[in-house]
Each structure stands twice: as structure tokens, then as C-alpha cells.
Symmetry: D2
Subunit: 500 residues, 4 copies
């Protein structure tokens, strides 16, 4: 008997073709030490990081003696704006986490930050990223009697910290870091300190800010802006930064390596008003559009972004190509991810929930459509179809990043390789599949140049983590596939106690 059958008569569609056709980041993190408004500021910071994850959010605070936690499904503003919730989060230090929206069943146990009562005192941890040896480590830990409550690799890190023989929390954390591989931006809180960590390659982002005398960690600078905090610097790759009453200390437990941040922060994840690696995200994306116009311009009447993510590149493209920029597609921000499928099928129905063609504008026109990336292509094909139905005479599809040919294992939710459109089709085949009149991607050299690297990609020591385009994974993939983690667990399908 399958306990998860749908409600029989009504057909609930998630239009998986369409809904899964985007990249998703695992999370955003935020932490602050020693501020009377600590939990309020975390709640605000998390709202500025909400684009990094909308499924769930959590805050753990400490008053120096006790920890207080609230973890909730939904948006930050659904829960962390309520006095009844916020007043339970006592204390002057706090960390928070937002988590992305998975398809399928909601797993409350995985909501972060996670907490453990270590021998040396309590410790809570929030993690953005993905380990490439979490499953291997987990199996080892289980063999020696560790009990896991979630499927999150954050819990693996927490167990490693708990099992360190060191007495000092910072040394325990460093012990655990030696055991793990992959991408991680960690923010941890003990009763007397706040710890920020970035993986040895700095794949996932983490910045250090300051507000009056209080230090802050955040995934992006836009989370500093919202509370009026100052940007201090980025946490370096492989650095452990510890904030306590004594001030700030830096530990570098790993041999020095060049940084290699994830290129998708520039292309897709970071908010346009954030500054990552010293570069304005908005300017980078405009640069991708300009470079794309240089590489593959075409004669057309207007440049139309696929909103919202394609907008900055389209502005750059339009400027460079001298073609008018127009909002030829309207985005509806109020739609959810599921809907009831009408029995009478409607062509390109699902996509129109979120996007609608501005038909008066495009009828009879030659248009350049700009998107930031193509993942499975299922949305793109429907958008091309929708624009065609709206009367566009020519549709030239332009993508402001290279073809995605490989899956990610560092915290981006990508489909398996065989489902990536570019991994199985040439550009010409993709163009035919999309039904576009032409299709072009920004080249890998072009994207490096647009990011300011005049000599392009350094193949020996690439400046970015870019395996999705190149297959050049920056670390060993010990678990082979993080996606197997779930299937190899005999774990409970549902284990959440909740209010009836």
C-alpha cells in the first residue's frame, strides 16, 4: 500500500515540467553577536535573503545561558513578524537560516538551524552549501552509534563537532571541518561566541558586517543593507572567524589556496543589489548581456527579458545592441507552485500562471528573448510558444550564461545530468526543440571576461567554481551523488510531531 496517493478525483498538478525548471540555492544564513535587537535584526536580515530559500526559516538565539529556537515552514514574514514568536527568542546573539523550497513532501526535521547539547554546552549551526562526503561520514557515524534525526548534512557536521575530543568549541568545529568536503558557509552560535566559516575554496558566499559594535555574518551584502549595517569584508575561503566578547579572531586551519567561488552567484543567485567578491551583481549581469550582444547579436525590434532574473542582462544587451528594451512578458508574483489542472487541456497553460505575453507589444515584431540560463528547457519551450501565439514574427533566444551540461553537488538543486537540456543536445538541436528562430549562449570565455578577467578562464586554476558548464568539479565527489542520500536511508517518511 502506498500511503502517498493523491486525492483521487481532483487532479492536482505541479506541472513538473515547468516547476522544476529552475536552479535553486539551498539556503541563506545570518548571525549577529551582542546586540539588544539581535533576533529582530536576524529576522530582517533573513527577509533580505529570502530569495535564497522560501520553504522554511529558523532562528536560534542565546542569552548567554540558554538557547531559544523557532523553526517554521513558509516565508520569514509569515512567522518572524509575530510578537508571540519573537518574544520567545530571548538574548543578544542569534543566528538564522532560510531554506529553499523543495518539491514534494515537506520535511520539517530538516529546517535549520540545528542544535546540539554538547558536553561543553549548547551549540546551534546553520549551513548553506552541500558536502560531497556527507553520506560516507553519516554511515560511519551511524556505525558507531550516532542517531540522526534529519536527512540534512548539517546534522553530519554537528555530530562531528559533538564527537571531537577537544574541549574548546572552536577546536571542535575545526576538527569537524577536517572531516568534511564540499561547499559550506557555516554560522554557528555557542553561549559565548558566534562562529562563521567558509569552505577551503570559498564556494558558498559569506560576508562580515558590523552594526555599531556588533559583528554580523550574512550570505550577502543586501542583508547588511536592510538593517543599515556596514560591510567589513568577505570571510575568506577556508577561514574560521570567531566573534566573542573579546572581539574578533580569525583561524585558518587549511593550507592557503586561491578562492574559487561559485559562478552561479553572479549569474543567478545573489540579489542584483548585492556585492560579491567586490563586484556589483547588477553590473556583472549587465556585463553578461553586453558580452552576449557582442558575441551573438541579431537584427530585431526589441529586447525582452524573461522576468525577473533576465532583466539586468537584457538591459545590458539592449544598450550594447542599440535595440529598445521592452517588458514584453508580465510576471505574476502572486502565484503558488501548485494548481488544479483543468480537464480540458490548455496549451502552455502552466507557464501563463507566472508569465504572460504582452501581445499588443510583440505582435508582428522580431524579438530577442533574454534569459539567464536554460536548465531543462521545459519553461523556455513554453515561453517561446507563448510569444509565438502572441504574434511575435521572429524569436531570437539569448542566454546570458553558457550551456549547463553538468549537475551541481555543492548546494544548487540541479536535475540529474540527463535531464539538462544542454547535456544531450547541441545548440542547433536546442534551438529546434525550443522552436526559436535562433539560439545563442554566452561563451565560457565571454562570461569570465565580463567578470573582469581579460585573459578569460585560467584552465589550470579556474577563478570560479564552474563545473556546471565545464565538468571541472573543484573537489572529490566522495558520495558520488548527494541525491542518493535520501534513497539510501531507511528513514521515516514523516516524523514530525505537530499540533493537531
Amino acid at each position: 500500500m502506498n500511503p502517498h496517493q493523491p486525492d483521487a478525483p481532483t487532479q492536482l498538478a505541479e506541472d513538473t515540467d515547468w516547476a522544476g525548471d529552475e536552479l535553486r540555492e539551498e539556503c541563506g544564513v545570518f548571525g549577529i553577536f551582542g546586540h539588544e535587537d539581535a533576533t529582530t535584526l536576524v529576522a530582517l536580515g533573513l527577509q533580505a535573503l529570502q530569495h535564497r530559500g522560501q520553504e522554511a526559516a529558523g532562528i536560534v538565539s542565546s542569552d548567554g545561558k540558554q538557547f531559544y529556537a523557532e523553526r517554521r515552514m513558509g516565508l520569514v514574514s509569515d512567522s518572524f513578524t509575530k510578537p508571540s514568536v519573537m518574544k520567545r527568542l530571548a538574548g543578544n546573539s542569534a543566528i538564522g537560516h532560510v531554506r529553499y523550497s523543495t518539491t514534494g513532501e515537506t520535511v520539517l526535521r530538516n529546517v535549520q538551524p540545528l542544535f546540539a547539547d554538547l558536553a561543553g554546552g549548547g551549540f546551534a549551526l546553520a549551513h548553506n552549501g552541500n558536502l560531497t562526503n556527507a553520506l560516507t561520514r553519516r554511515k560511519q557515524l551511524e556505525k558507531s552509534g550516532a542517531i540522526f534525526q534529519s536527512t540534512s548534512d548539517t546534522e553530519t557536521i554537528l555530530h562531528l563537532i559533538a564527537r571531537s575530543p577537544k574541549s574548546c568549541t572552536v577546536n571542535r568545529v575545526i576538527d569537524a571541518l577536517y572531516e568534511i568536503n564540499g561547499a559550506y558557509a557555516l554560522v554557528g552560535i555557542a553561549n559565548d561566541k558566534l562562529i562563521g566559516v567558509r569552505d577551503p575554496l570559498g564556494i558558498r558566499p559569506l560576508v562580515l558586517g558590523k552594526m555599531n559594535e556588533s559583528y554580523i555574518f550574512a550570505s550577502e551584502t543586501c542583508a547588511l543593507d536592510i538593517i543599515g549595517a556596514k560591510f567589513v569584508r568577505e570571510v575568506e575561503n577556508g577561514e574560521v572567524v570567531v566573534i566573542s566578547a573579546e572581539g574578533i579572531k580569525s583561524y585558518k586551519p587549511f593550507p592557503k589556496k586561491p578562492e574559487r567561488p561559485c559562478i552561479f552567484e553572479y549569474i543567478y543567485f545573489a540579489r542584483p543589489d548585492s556585492i560579491v567578491g567586490g563586484k556589483s551583481i547588477y553590473e556583472c549581469r549587465k556585463g553578461f548581456g553586453r558580452e552576449l550582444a557582442n558575441e551573438s547579436n541579431v537584427e530585431a525590434d526589441m529586447v525582452i527579458p524573461i522576468p525577473d532574473s533576465g532583466v539586468p542582462s537584457a538591459i545590458g544587451y539592449a544598450e550594447q545592441a542599440g535595440i529598445p528594451f521592452e517588458l514584453g512578458i508580465t510576471r505574476n508574483h502572486y502565484v503558488g507552485r501548485t494548481f488544479i489542472q483543468p480537464k480540458q487541456s490548455i496549451r502552455s497553460f502552466g507557464v501563463r500562471l507566472k508569465h504572460n505575453a504582452n501581445r499588443t507589444l510583440v505582435a508582428g515584431k522580431r524579438i530577442v528573448l533574454i534569459d539567464d540560463s536554460i536548465v531543462r528547457g521545459t519553461t523556455s519551450v513554453k515561453i517561446v510558444q507563448m510569444m509565438r501565439e502572441a504574434g511575435a514574427k521572429e524569436i531570437h533566444f539569448r542566454v546570458s550564461s553558457p550551456p549547463i551540461t553538468h549537475s551541481d553537488f555543492y548546494g544548487i538543486d540541479t536535475p540529474s545530468k540527463d535531464q539538462l537540456l544542454a547535456s544531450t543536445k547541441s545548440v542547433a538541436e536546442m534551438c529546434e526543440y525550443l522552436g526559436a528562430d535562433s539560439l545563442a549562449f554566452l561563451s565560457i570565455e565571454g562570461i569570465y571576461q565580463a567578470l573582469g578577467h581579460k585573459d578569460g578562464r585560467n584552465a589550470d586554476c579556474p577563478q570560479y567554481t564552474d563545473h556546471c558548464f565545464t565538468g571541472d568539479y573543484p573537489t572529490l565527489l566522495e558520495d558520488e551523488s548527494g541525491g542518493e542520500l535520501n534513497s539510501q536511508l531507511s528513514f521515516l517518511s514523516m516524523a514530525e510531531p505537530h499540533e493537531h
Copy 2:
């Protein structure tokens, strides 16, 4: 610190300065007759009309014998995507309604559609607009023993329909129309017919569409697009359109008058991809921007829209002025309307939840800020301040509509006259208040010309309902102020039964 203290210390702010500084439409309506997917299509149509109201939504369906209703707080996608909800809404005909988001206490009783068991059979009604004599009529009805359950003027219409001595539902509706004044787009459903009505001046919009053999009413054409329905025509001002198994019939119970639709549909309410009165909303708004550039251009480095509503006008302005269009402000779509105010005050804090300056872009630049309107000015002043703090050298504020000097009584939620910035200050005074380097509004003649009226506004018989700019109210304001309705009722503060 004890985390379980009563509410007192935590300060919940709605930052009323900021939150109330926008125009809000009362509602959107949708109806369909004789389609097997009727309620699913209503749910989709309402999602496309969600920008017209986010507080609550409702659907009433009929299977020809019985009526079924679901009315819920929150977004359409929160409730009307659930099989458990949708399967209760049986039948081939249905109407739906979305309602705007009020500040203050939620009043569930007012969620539409409303229903009455008339002597001739059941009838449900959804209404977009506002009557100018609802209170007067209500007091008369109460005197003769009518019992009201809501504070909505829709219920007044329903009582008038119920009291008509006519036996035919259409005639009952027409009897009621003779008793009411103001703005209304109505969609009503009886077991055997669907009725769409627009007020004698056509102040509120209503269009007729068709999908296969089924007729549809919707507030905007974008709701037809989402389900792939065809636009047939607008319901005319003063027209009663009746759909039944016999087909479509039109009644015109009022003497013919020229149409006078609300000009704010063009400026603010309608979605850019909708077509209203034969005009593309997106093109109209670009036209306002172009006209604004003609009227009051200034030398600058970039044109920046206040997102999202200012974008089309900014594109038009930028094109006409030959100044680059840039996204200098990032909008966060994930924020709610309330937040916990930090104890340490942060300048221009509230506004940054929703808008953040792209500081790398604007630092040291002369910028033109484009907004669609200024209501109370409380947001505008904070945005100017935020841009100034981000380093903008010059800030030229341009508004793509005339100064709002008068309140609305036709379904737009405007503050009282004395709270409208333009009603008490000259343009120079407003500029000083905002802290901008210059300020200009589109002229009333300019907006008419941009809408295609070469000779501008016809003062004898204005082409639009434009009293917010001119004070020229199109109907008698019998209640004087719709706002008094509530205060004159001894009504219950909370009368909702709900699940505990």
C-alpha cells in the same frame, strides 16, 4: 531576560507612514457559465487578478440546483489550489472575487461573493467598486427591517435585489440598479444564468470573453489570457449582460451616456499586459513616461524606476530623454506588511524591507527617479533619503501622473484629503518635503494626450473619471463619505464563527 513576558516590550510596527502610502483597488471579479472546469478556471482567473486584491478570495459555484461557496483569507493560491477545497465547489458555472488588503482587523464577513436565498431561488453576487449612496440606502433598508451581516455595500445591493417585487432575476437586478449610485462592476450567478453589469459611467472595468462555447466575465483581459480564452468585447457602461443556456442577451436599463472609465486603471491598477478600453496598459504607461520627459526633462546620468509600478513609465521616459534606464532600486517581493521594529532606530528602515538602493550604480550619479503617483509621500521621502545615502549626487523626482488632490469614493482606497501630500502643498513645497533636487508631475493635459486625446481633456464631458486630480466627481456623493459607513454602524467588532 525572561523570554515569556507578555507582549509589551516587543514593538510591532506596521510603519503606518509607509504601509498606507499607496493606492489600493477594492477588488477583481471573474465569472464563467457552462464549462466543466468552471471553478478551476475561476481560480486561475482570480490568480491573474490577484494584483487587484490580496486580502481574501472567494468562489461560489452552481450545479444548476445547489450553490457551493468557499471564501478564504489570503491569496487565491493559498486555498484555491487545494483539492479538498476545489472538490467542494461543484457545478459548471461559477463566480469569484479577490479583495484588497486592508490595514487593521480582518473582517471575514465582508469576503465576497455574497449569497442570498431569494424567493425565486439562490443568487450570489461579486462586486468591484463602491456605491456613493450605500449608507443612505442601508439606513432605509434597516428601518424597514432588513438585517445586515457585513459592512460591505455589496450586501446593500443584494438586499435591494431581494426586495424587488419582480419575479425574474434580471428584472430584480435592474430594479436594484435604479436605487444605487456610484461605481460598480458586478458579476452575479443564479442557478440558470450568469449576469455581468457595469455602472452607467463604466467607472470600474469589466470585459466579456469566451472559451469554446462558454462566456466569461473578468475585470481585466489578463484573466482571459491565463486560461487561453478569447476577448470578445468590454461590457458597456450601463449594460447588463445575461448569459444563460439560451445564449447571451444585453439589457440597457439606463439612458445612453458617454463612458467615463477610471483613469487610475491606466496609471496604476490594471496589469501592464491587460488591454483596457482598447489600449495596451503597458503602452499607455510608456506614453506617460515619454510625455513626462517632454514636459519636464532634466540632465541626468540615468533613469531609475521605483519598482514595480514605475517601470513602464521609466522605460518611456528613458527612451524619450535618451538617458540610460537602470534598475537602481531592487524590490524584495517576499516581505509582509508588518515587522518588529528594532529598538535602536534605523533611518529609512521600513522602506528598505521592500526597496534597496543599488549603491554601486548610483554613487556619485545624477538620477531621475520615476514613480507612478504620490499619495501621502511618506514612502517617497524615504526613498529619496535612501538614494541620497547610497551616494546619488542629484535626485530628480518625476511622477507619471498629475498631483492627487482629492479622495476617491468609487472603490479606490485613498487617504482623506488632508493626508494627500498634493492637497496641502505646492510642487515646490513637496519637492522640499521629499528632499529631492527637483520634482515634476505629468500634467492633466499631458496624461489625456498620452492616452490619445489630442485635444486633451474635454472639460464639458471628460473622457475619464479623474476627480482625484481635478475634483470633478462624476456622480453625486450622497453618503458624502463612504468612510463614515463603518463609524455609523453599531456593528460587532468581531462576529465570525471559526474553527477554534
Copy 3:
């Protein structure tokens, strides 16, 4: 399409045989005027009246200017113990209502008290009873344009009050009383007065109490006890009692008739610790048991009540017959009304959720089972079976009231006549159906004698409303059947707005 299909695979049983086999009272009412703790006292009083209705509860309070209402599904203690609910109920006067638990769909609109904004000010009304001409009056009202929001006949009374041409609220109420027939105990509240009314025959109970200087109305004296109030007197049949700042006034708008209260209050509804018509309910029920022993004793080893309602009669029977009283059936107070039916059928399963035989006690014994009444007999047959399976050697079923042969139309939820066991079967046939060794009911004369009427029932002018046993309905049944009310309405199946 039927929108109310069950969830397909799992079989949810309400074991309708079993669940509907009891009498249910429509409601309990409570009101207090001029006490600073008014709403708290109403909440407590309603808890003492909870046995009269468990589906829903509501309170409406007045501060002399405004009304405040909370109406909730579930027990009084689920909602009216929460500060967040109670603090919204401002004011020094309040009325409350508990409602019985219907099978089938919960209809929130029917939860009382109901409220209307009358021409002369607000008015809220709570009603225990049932009108015998509610449908007739409702159809008349609808014809003249009244809009009904519920299926409750309380709303019919409210419309009649609203339509009275009188200006004084008391006169309006009296006007309405002239229009209605049937059973009613009403408690109404205006901003300056509290009104208690009992129908001309006094079918439903209502008592007057006093606490310090504040007068109270309540369905039973146990609701006075809980708050430490004093019993003053019963509201008389046909009396309108008005409490205001000027004190207490009594109106008697009807010609004087002898009282004829519902005999089921003595048999089943009232709590054993209440005093009704000057008689202790507990003593009356013990008297029924004693009389039953006189009429139809049998040799046996023990007397076993079917708990909880059979206990007092069983004590009386055991005393009179000189047979030991034993708890041979254990009642589980924690069960709900629905359960998942196991696929493998289990004999007498449903009944064991609530009742379990004490098998060690009864094995090999001759037992007298005492119940207060037999309605459909479906529970009784399962209890006999269960006792038999537990090893009882002889089972003598004794019922402490006469056979129920007629339906009620005055506020008791009885099945239709053809479903009443005693209406279609002789005592011998019933005995065979139940599988008992013998069966006897208390005679109609016996019950009157046990109630202190030495000459038994006065056939010309019966002392009680006893049509369920005699078919002697005390008023004209104008609607013929109150049960048709729902089926004749084209009303909405679900019309409740609620939080998503």
C-alpha cells in the same frame, strides 16, 4: 458531480447505527447584565451547560455602545479560556450559547448568538428550542425580501424582531413572539438591557439567578452553581423578563396557561445536580428507577447502569429491588465520534470505543441493565451482545422511561418516526431484537407518579410535554416537519469564510 465524496481508499466510519442512537438537545443559553466579569461568567456558565451542546459555542457582549462577538466550533473550554479570545469580549453584559453536535457537515453560520443591527440599535439573540412554524414564516419573509444567512430558526425570530414597527426593543420582541409557535427559551441583549423569554407552555427551561446585584438567565441551575450565583426563580411560561439599569420587569404578553415543560429534561437532558420545576433531577431519576423496580422487577445478581446517563435510575432500581448496584460497563470519556473502520470486521466494535464490559464481574451472572431510554435501539442491541459475549447468563433490559413512539419537533434531535424502535415493534419484538432475556419500560403513569403526580397523567391537561411517548403534541405543527427546512432551501452547502 458530488463534491462531498469521501477520501477514497481509507474507510471512515461514523457507525451511524450507533452514533445517532441518542437524543440530543439543541442548546443551552446563559446571560448576565451589569457585572464587571460578565463574559468570564458567561464562559463559566456555558461550561456548566456544555452537556446541552458540544458542537459550538458563542458569546456576544456589549459595553453599552458596541457589541463584541466570538463564535467558535468545539467546546467552550477550547476557545473561551484563551485571553486572546476573552479580551475581545468587552463590556459588562453578555449572552452565550452552546449548540449540540450534529452529524454531518458543520455549519458555522448557524452558531449562535446571532446579531442584527436593528434600526433602534444592535441586538443579539440566543435560542434554545425549535419553532414549529419557522419554515412557513421564513418563506413569507423571503417573499418580502428578507435575506437569510443561516438555516437556524433563530434567524427567523431575529427577522421578525427587525421588521416590527415598534420602536422599543421589548415591544419588537413581543411582536415577534406573536408570530412564532413552538418551543423557545430566548436570551437577548441590547445595549441597555437583557431579555429572557420562555414559550407559552414553558417547554424549554430557563431560570433566573442573581449574583451580587447582577441578574442572570440560564438554562439550568447548575450554571448558577458554577459561579456561586443564587437561584431566584424560574422564568414562567409565556413570560418576558427584562433586566436593565432600572432593575427587573416582567411582561406577560400571552393569556395565562398552565406550564407544560418537556419531560425529557427530567429523563435525560438536565444535569443530575440541577433543579428543574422545583425538583432535583437526581431524585427524579432515582424515583424512575424505583418505580421501574416496582413495575417490573426480576430476580438477578446485580443491577448495571449503561453509563453515564443510566446511573441514577440504576441506583434507585437497585435500592428498591434490593439487588447490588455494580459498574459492569466502563465508559471511555475520551473517544470522538468518528473512527477508521478496520477492514476485518469486529463484532460490536463501534460500541466498545465508548463502553466496555467488565467481564470478570458479569461472567455467569444474571444482570439487570438500566438505560434511560431506547431511541433506535442500535446501541442497545450491541450492548446486550457485548454483555452476552462477556459471559452474562441472563440479561434483563430495563428502561427508566416509556417507549418513544413519536418524533420531537421542539428542539430535541430525534430520528424520524419510522426509525424509532418502539414505533414499529411491540415490547416482545423489541426484546427479541435486542437479544435480551426480558425487556420492560417504565409506564407513562409510572413516570408521572415518580414525578410526584399521585393521580398520574392528567389527560385533559397533561402536566408535561410528552408527545414522544403519547403523540400528544402541545402545539400545532405548522411546518409539519422542521426536518424539511433544510431540504427545502436552495442554500449553500458551505458558505463560511475562514482563515486558510
Copy 4:
């Protein structure tokens, strides 16, 4: 008065004097192996065990490969009657748990069964009882890196099982048993077996039943009755019973000792229709009453139980003493545990929510009040007061168990020693405190004799765990006080993720 003021003025009372004045059992457990209706039967069994815990309930099922869990606050019937919940619980084997109702904050993490993904496969565990060295073991486990998610000592057992080096689940469980002391009735489930365990002294109860071919574990026989299962035998003290596809196996890892079950199961916890240790609970309680009458009878007019728990003893007392048994106190089963305290204080108010004197009956009478035990005496004093106010002439308080002078540490929620009335006062002082005319307790020898031990208590080797009366704790109290467990943890105040 403004109804929307903050919480302050309304006083929420739990009347701690009154509410905490009863004994509470920690839990009830149930498990079944290899039945197609497994989870339905667990849900029913838990409803029969609901008197053992009303705070929360949980079920974990296994289909032989995967585990499924649902854990909910509230009664079993609140959640485990819903098809949406039940259909998620797939599989033919399942265990369940009900948990008692704590005062104060609800801790969802502690709801059982708990689950762990052991190296050898998943394992879920439900526990009734309390360990006397849980804290000691927990601290040791934390030192070696174990991470705890709850404050439950069940989790300690689970960690010990997880850390056993044995490969076979049964051996792992036995390893863990060697590490723990105290009282436990455990039911555990692996994918291929069901395990039932009772502590070496058999302090907490556990019985083995059978339904068709499926074995069942349950805390009491009444849970077998509800599903029509047969009682097989009790699980012996110190026995590990394993059910699998191969049938039933018994392990006895401890040296044989005489059983010493908790005497409070007989006095208070078990349901009257259960059979414990071969004895009918109902008969035992009647026996206590009879013995009490022998020991300390008094001349009186009636014997009145304090319902519901005092009823069987009162029946026994009345029979033995030849005094009529009467229901002089009515119990209200619908009340919750909290209420709003009226501002004007009412004497003996709180107690009347649950109990009300039948004043007609008792006025002027000499009464014997029977209760099963006195804990803190705060309820008893109010009941005496209430009976006095109702007019009782003499009140003789009789308790059907000895004075409670010591706290429990084996799963019964008792106040600390200094709060136990009998630990600080003589019987005469207690009588004065209660305001009774006389007071007597059943003697310790009397209770043993009533339980069938003619020679009374065997002081060298007592037949029951009876330290609450004697101070003779059956095991070492290693943690000294289980109550300190919480206070010694730096654990989170609230760590539950939940739906917003």
C-alpha cells in the same frame, strides 16, 4: 473600555492548587505485528489507553522496508481518526504511545515513539515508565558525542541501543537494558520484528494479546478488549518478548526476581475493566472500599464518591457499611484545565468547574466522602468546603489508600515530598486542614489484604512497589531526582519546527 488592549488585565488561571492535585501516569503503549489493519488497531488500542495520557499521541508503522510516523498533540481521536493521517501510516506492523498532560509548555520533541536509523536498520521505541539513572547515562553519552533532541529518557535508551556493538537488534536492546535502572515497559519495532520489554521488577504493566495470528503488546487488557483481541498473558518482569515472522520468542537477560508491580495501577491508574496481575481492577477497588469500611466506619446517611475515580471504592464501602451509595457530586467531563479567573473572587470556584455538589441530596445529611487518594489535598479541601456550603451536616472523609508520604520516580508525576499533604501532617492535622469531621485512610496492611495477601505486606520482599506510602524504593535512585533532568540541561526552550 477598549477591547483590544494587551493581555495584561485578563487573568488566566490554572489554579495550580487545584489542577496539580492528582497523580498522573506517564504513558500507555501498544504494538501489533503482522496485521493488515495494524495502524487502525493501534489507534483504537490507544483510545482505550487514553486515560494513561492525554497530552499527545504517536504511531510509527513499518511496511517491512520503510517506517512511517505521525506524532500529534492532543487526544488520539483528534488526529488518528483522520483518513489523511492514517493513510500515511502504511504497513502491517505498528507501535503507538499516549503521553500524559503536563502543565506548562508543550514539548513536541518529547512525543513518542522515538525513531533512530541504526546501523542495522531503523528502530522505533515507545516507553512507559521512568529511569532512575537516565540523567547520569545521558551525561556520559553526551561526553562521548551523542546528540540529544529531546529531554525524554526514552532517547537515552535509544542512544544506548544505537551504541551497542552487537549486530542483532534484540542483543542491542538487551545491551541497553543492562545500562538502565528504573521502571520501563517498552515496545519497539524494527522492520522485521516487534519487541516488548518489562523492567526487572515489572513495575510498569505490559500484557501480551493475540488477534487471529497477530501478537499484540498493550499496557492494559482494556486495549485488547476494544479490538476484540484475546489476552494471552502478562509480559513477565525482566522479560524481553520478540515477535517476528518466525513467531514468538522470550528472552530473560536478568536473574530471576519476584515481580513487584506498582500498587498505584490498582489504586488509580488502570481502568476498572482491566485485569492486572490476574486481578480485576474494579474488584480490587471495591475491596479497598470494603476494607476501609471495616477499618474506619462511621455512622452516616450516605456514602458519596468523589467522581470518577472514587466510585468503585465507594460502592464497596457502602455495601460493607450498609449505608446508601449516592451520587452527591456531579462531575463535568467537558472542562479544560485552564480558565479565566473572575476578578471578583468566588470561594471554591475552580473545583466547581469539574465537580458540583448535589445540594438537594446532601442538605442536612451526614455524608461519607470517598476518594482514592490525597496528594496535595488542595482539591480535597475545596470539595469539603463545597459540600459544607451545600448543607452537609457531617463530612467524614475516607481515603481508599494509605497516606502518600514519598514522591515517585518511576513514571508517576508526583509533587515533591514537601508538597505531599501526608508527609508533613498527621491524620488529625490533615483532618483539620480539610475541614472534615473525621478523616481516615486505608492502612498499608489493609490494602495488601484487600489485594488478597492474607498475611499482609511482606516487609522483606514486598509484593508491590509501594514507596509512595512506605519510602521503600525498589531500586537505587541514581539521578537522585528525575525532576532535575530538565534544569540541568542547557537545552532549547522551544525547538520545534512547525507549520506557521
